[in-house]
């Protein structure tokens, strides 16, 4: 018995040692590998990593989280951040990081291929794709004619139990800020209070959309691409998309965006990845994985979306949305978070 124990413990120690130190060593053995903090959907990050590694041989490690979480994480990490590039579902978290001086300026050649209004004024982040806020509804539960012209109406008592929303989603928070900019703080607070009282909350947009599809709720506030993603998976959907009236906050256009982290140890490779993501090739990879609008000048989506120029969004730009901190503040005030 005594003879057998020593090798067992030696084996155990060796296992632990490899486990604790093995992972980083394997990474270090590669020439260069980039760390991407991905707040966008998992599949999109994976599609980018796969296509980019096939093209350049550079491996991308993905840390998946929510956009807000990852941006806050970079603030907390400061100059120790292991992230090279951050890709978020919304622009406000990156606006915040840019203001705090945690992002590197993106190469002009990269920014030039994108429309000016979808790029940070100080060049620290770039829009990657655009999408629009919509209402998804189930015609079996509610008639399209019964849907209101403005998203503001959903906060009224007649929508009790019929409207769903996702208070933790960044896009919802952007929508709340848009309402604040368009109608004032009081109106925004009233809207959130009404939604809290009468609406159903969901943990994420896909859950909300599936609830509409199953007829559990009449309509939900989501982004357009969720509906296309579900349609792609199921072939046929009961639910439909409803675009709100011209210039209403319910039709807000938001963008996914990306930036290079200042603390990155591979600034050149990070810039190269951003350039590829803005390029026609990168945009094609991304917009074939998700039904969003490419932002590369002159490109259009091939996913059968309502044409981008036919959308009638309110005049609210990512710059107007700022870092959207008022949204969290308001949501906490009314007790949604």
């Amino acid at each position: 018995m005594t003879i057998r124990i020593k090798p067992i413990f030696r084996g155990l120690a060796a296992t632990l040692f490899t486990l604790a130190l093995g992972a980083p060593q394997v990474m270090a053995a590669d020439s260069v590998s980039l760390t991407l903090y991905n707040g966008q959907h998992k599949e999109i990050g994976e599609a980018i990593a796969k296509a980019y590694e096939a093209k350049t041989g550079i491996h991308i490690n993905i840390r998946k989280g929510s956009s807000n979480q990852l941006a806050s994480q970079i603030i907390e990490e400061g100059d120790r951040s292991p992230a090279d590039v951050i890709y978020t579902e919304e622009s406000p978290p990156l606006n915040n990081l840019g203001e705090l001086g945690l992002l590197a300026k993106i190469d002009d050649s990269t920014l030039q291929v994108l429309p000016k209004e979808y790029v940070a004024n100080n060049g620290t982040w770039m829009g990657v794709t655009a999408r629009t806020r919509v209402v998804a509804f189930n015609p079996k539960v509610i008639d399209e004619k019964a849907l209101p012209p403005s998203v503001m109406d959903f906060a009224n008592p007649e929508w009790d139990g019929k409207i769903g929303f996702v208070p933790t989603s960044g896009a919802f928070q952007e929508q709340a800020v848009a309402i604040l900019k368009l109608h004032g703080r009081e109106a925004a607070e009233e809207w959130l209070t009404g939604l809290k009282a009468f609406g159903k909350t969901y943990t994420n947009n896909m859950v909300a959309l599936k609830a509409v599809e199953n007829g559990e709720v009449a309509a939900v506030l989501v982004n357009n691409y969720y509906w296309y993603a579900l349609k792609k998976e199921r072939g046929q959907l009961d639910s439909k998309l409803y675009y709100l009236a011209d210039g209403d906050a319910g039709g807000l256009v938001t963008i996914s965006s990306a930036a290079a982290v200042k603390a990155s140890k591979h600034p050149q490779e990070a810039q190269a990845l951003l350039a590829w993501m803005a390029s026609e090739e990168g945009q094609r990879v991304i917009t074939q994985t998700t039904a969003e609008y490419p932002l590369h000048k002159g490109m259009v989506s091939d996913q059968g979306l309502k044409p981008f120029e036919d959308l009638r969004p309110p005049k609210i730009t990512p710059a107007d949305l700022g870092n959207a901190e008022e949204a969290l503040e308001l949501e906490r005030e009314v007790g949604l978070l």
């Binding site: 005594t2 124990i5 632990l16 604790a20 992972a23 979480q69 990490e77 896909m206």
Partner: protein
């Protein structure tokens, strides 16, 4: 006593009060320090935010709502489990129900299914199971064996002479049950119930899937919104307080839970109560408990597996998750064991303040929510030990803290039985203290070490919360994959991971537990 009976005193061994070796002291000090970190974290964050702001974050309607949900869930599940567990234990131990041995084995099957997996199967059956009612139902069905098993064991070993005396004194059956049997069972019922109450406080995965907002899910939500912020810390403070309160209650119960039987010989087993016309009802009760407790979770899982297999099975992803689950659990079990050994050693062989701390440590750790441990480790690693940040090492450290209570119990029992005199004999023959330990004590306690290793390994496989927050970039495990797919309502995609989890962790745990149950029979 020793003056009056010098002979008796010389036969019991009194440990020498020498100073313990540095290799015993250091790990224990490290663990004590680490287990106090969550309190430090909460305090530090409150101080950073300012007292006024901290109180403002705590005292708002949102937190009241969390408190309401958490308390209702805890009370509801604990009560339901206590009643269900007691009824079942009585039925299977004291009645003449046909097939009761088999029922005992079948009705422990919920042990094989992690709570978040059974949560996912119920939600996938119908969204009506979301919310408080559904959460109470699902959690009760997955936790009642924690009351049933100890109560059944106590009932089986209960001396029936007390009950018979009460009968001869004119009590009817109900009178005997309430005045004699129930008080005797009280410690086991209370012990199991408090454990369940604590589980309800720290449960995250299942409640998140069942859509019930409690302190744990709200803390995670804050983490997702703002990483490690004052809000998350303040909610953690409330949760910590509630957990420590449960711990205090548990320790009080434990201290008083002792019934002494005077007399010699073996306790006689009670004559089974004849159910007669009630037999079919009792069978229906067991059958429906089986259908609800394990039938629905396992059945739904099989359904989603058959639906999913029509699509492409992501074999590469699945094997990657399996591999990291296996290696993390192996590592976690190893680290837990390495730390459990000095802790138990100190408790068993030494006296003094540090030994006292070592004695209390497992209880304290047991009451710390995994989510709060993880938040704390992220914060301190990032700011004070950046080398550890986002490494497997940090995650293994969290596992060690979470699973030390599990690992130390068998090690401690075995060390208690390994006489230090043998080791001292080896010392007189020229062995060093470490050598004597390795060559004498280690072989004696080896089976217990193996058991502890297996226990932690199996339990670590289904760890979700700490893994979600601490896993190195790009690493996924079976548990996190189940959780991620369920969060996106991709039930068929979650099914293979959940099935593997049951196969490699749930079933072995179940077999170990029911074997203990059967062995005691």
């Amino acid at each position: 006593m020793s003056a009056a009976l010098p002979l008796a005193a010389s036969t019991t061994y009194v440990p020498r009060r020498k100073r313990p070796s540095i290799w015993v002291v250091l790990p224990v000090l490290l663990l004590v320090g680490l287990s106090l970190l969550p309190l430090l974290y909460v305090g530090l964050k409150a101080w950073q935010a300012g007292l006024h702001e901290a109180l403002r974050l705590l005292w708002r309607p949102f937190v009241w709502g969390l408190m309401r949900n958490t308390l209702l869930l805890m009370v509801g599940v604990t009560l339901a489990c206590a009643i269900l567990g007691l009824a079942l234990a009585w039925l299977l131990e004291r009645s003449d129900l046909p097939g009761r041995r088999l029922w005992g084995v079948i009705l422990c099957l919920p042990f094989a299914v992690p709570a978040f997996v059974s949560g996912f199967t119920w939600v996938s059956l119908s969204p009506r199971f979301e919310g408080l009612g559904g959460a109470i139902l699902v959690m009760t069905l997955s936790k009642y064996p924690l009351v049933f098993l100890p109560v059944a064991a106590t009932l089986r070993n209960l001396d029936t002479s007390l009950e018979e005396s009460a009968r001869t004194l004119g009590q009817n059956r109900w009178g005997v049950f309430f005045r004699i049997t129930l008080p005797l069972l009280w410690p086991s019922i209370l012990g199991g119930s408090l454990l369940i109450a604590l589980h309800m406080l720290v449960e995250f995965g299942a409640l998140s899937i069942l859509g019930l907002q409690t302190f744990t899910t709200a803390i995670y939500q804050q983490f997702e919104l703002e990483f490690s912020n004052a809000n998350a810390a303040m909610l953690s403070a409330v949760l910590l307080f509630m957990c420590l309160l449960m711990l205090w209650l548990e320790l009080r119960v434990r201290g008083k839970a002792r019934h002494v039987r005077i007399g010699q010989g073996v306790a006689r087993r009670a004559a089974p109560v004849r159910l007669r016309a009630w037999t079919p009802m009792a069978q229906v009760f067991c059958l429906s408990l089986m259908l609800l407790g394990s039938g629905i979770p396992l059945g739904m899982l099989v359904y989603w597996l058959s639906v999913g297999s029509s699509a492409a099975f992501p074999v590469a992803d699945i094997s990657r998750a399996l591999l990291s689950s296996l290696s993390l659990s192996l590592g976690g079990a190893g680290v837990s064991l390495l730390l459990a050994l000095p802790v138990s050693f100190l408790v068993v062989r030494y006296k003094g303040r540090l030994a006292l701390w070592a004695e209390r440590l497992p209880y304290l750790l047991h009451a710390l929510p995994g989510l709060v441990i993880a938040l704390t480790l992220v914060y301190f690693a990032l700011h004070y030990v950046p080398v550890l940040y986002q490494t497997t090492g940090l995650l293994l450290l969290a596992y060690a803290l979470l699973f030390l209570p599990l690992a130390q119990a068998p090690v401690r029992t075995a060390l208690n039985k390994a006489s230090p005199q043998l080791e001292e004999a080896a010392r007189t023959l020229g062995a060093t203290s470490f050598g004597a330990f390795c060559r004498v004590t280690l072989p004696i306690i080896f089976p217990a070490l193996a058991a502890a290793f297996a226990l932690v390994f199996l339990d670590a496989m289904k760890e979700l919360t700490a893994t979600l927050l601490l896993s190195p970039t790009g690493m996924t495990t079976l548990a996190t994959e189940v959780w991620a797919h369920t969060a996106n309502v991709e039930f068929a995609a979650a099914a293979p991971y959940a099935a593997l989890l049951i196969l490699v962790s749930g079933l072995p745990v179940y077999l170990l537990t029911t074997r203990m149950y059967l062995n005691r029979a």
